[in-house]
Symmetry: C2
Subunit: 229 residues, 2 copies
Amino acid sequence: MSSPSPGDPLAIVLLSGGMDSCVTAALARRTCTLALLHVSYGQRTEERELHSFREIARHYGVERRLEARLDHLKVIGGSALTDASRDAVSARRPDSSIPDTYVPFRNTHLLAMAVSWAEVIGARSVYIGAVQEDSSGYPDCREEYYEAFNCLLRVGTRPETRIDVVTPLIHMSKEQIVREGLRLDAPLHLTWSCYTEQEIACGRCESCRLRLNGFRAARAADPIPYRAT
Amino acid sequence: MSSPSPGDPLAIVLLSGGMDSCVTAALARRTCTLALLHVSYGQRTEERELHSFREIARHYGVERRLEARLDHLKVIGGSALTDASRDAVSARRPDSSIPDTYVPFRNTHLLAMAVSWAEVIGARSVYIGAVQEDSSGYPDCREEYYEAFNCLLRVGTRPETRIDVVTPLIHMSKEQIVREGLRLDAPLHLTWSCYTEQEIACGRCESCRLRLNGFRAARAADPIPYRAT
């Protein structure tokens, strides 16, 4: 495990507390000094995710942290992740290719926050653990979305600002992400992925299933406990 | 003044409570049913702006409103608009072409919120009163920024979603905006533009000066009172 040195460029990592963002932080810290951003948006498991964020930040000794809230995403609604009356376990509308857990345009809110913070603290990059290949089909997890966002970033910030959004996992499978996390000694035991539970992961929701499949394919044991697998 | 009819498509207007957004609402309602979005982000005059928002919404009889907060923009800082220790009257850094009142990447946050809401309520367009020609030089007030945002919008939302960000004032001068507001009988007396005061507009900050110059050029009287002009 390489350690960061003080002269490394500053990078903001969007760290939800899930496995993908944890591996992203592990990758970013090889070449960058980290600043960690966590956003709660009224999702069901927000307390548990914030706990994981803090534990991972402490594990890596990162002092520069921003914990923000986007409460209007819950007010706006439209997602099983933020609306308790919807089913987040088997959530896919029959008329849509997009799961019901999709939070409309969510990643744009997260990236906007990261970019605003990056402009102020002088970070040169924003890392986000979006996964296209093996993901749930969210439109804002695809490579073309990030290309478009980088275009927006270039025209929407000060002329002297140079920030890139970086997506190191975008073409990885969950198996590859697990292997990368193990290789980098990422603290996967501190992460949380379940969409529905906050004590013991359900093992049944889309996020748990993708994660467990990744560990199985990598022939590794997931270090967190599950209610049912 | 034309009145909206129930069959008109639904449009979200970002209504700060300033003159430009008020004229934008007046333009949008000629062809659309309005939904009004106001965002407070810890700016100095947020209470006064919210008051104007509510008065304009009431004037037009719009029930569909969303009042949201972006408190993290104040936490992130970096702008004279949200940082009381900076001078918002004569705010321009010697080393930058961008005024110190620029809030880093602010309009991306506002548009992200409008687009999330638009996806949920089925609005077809998002109107924003950005002005390029006669504005303060903010990077996120230029036409190319909105072109880039519309590209992001197409790849970052559900495939069945069709939303356009519309900027009817983008190439207008303040004089033209005043004339357009008067022509459409927009309630300019209810608007607020001052960056620093909440009781009587200062008449000295960049926003007051641009507004007053617009009224002078249009040979019209600004219906709101000023401390000094």
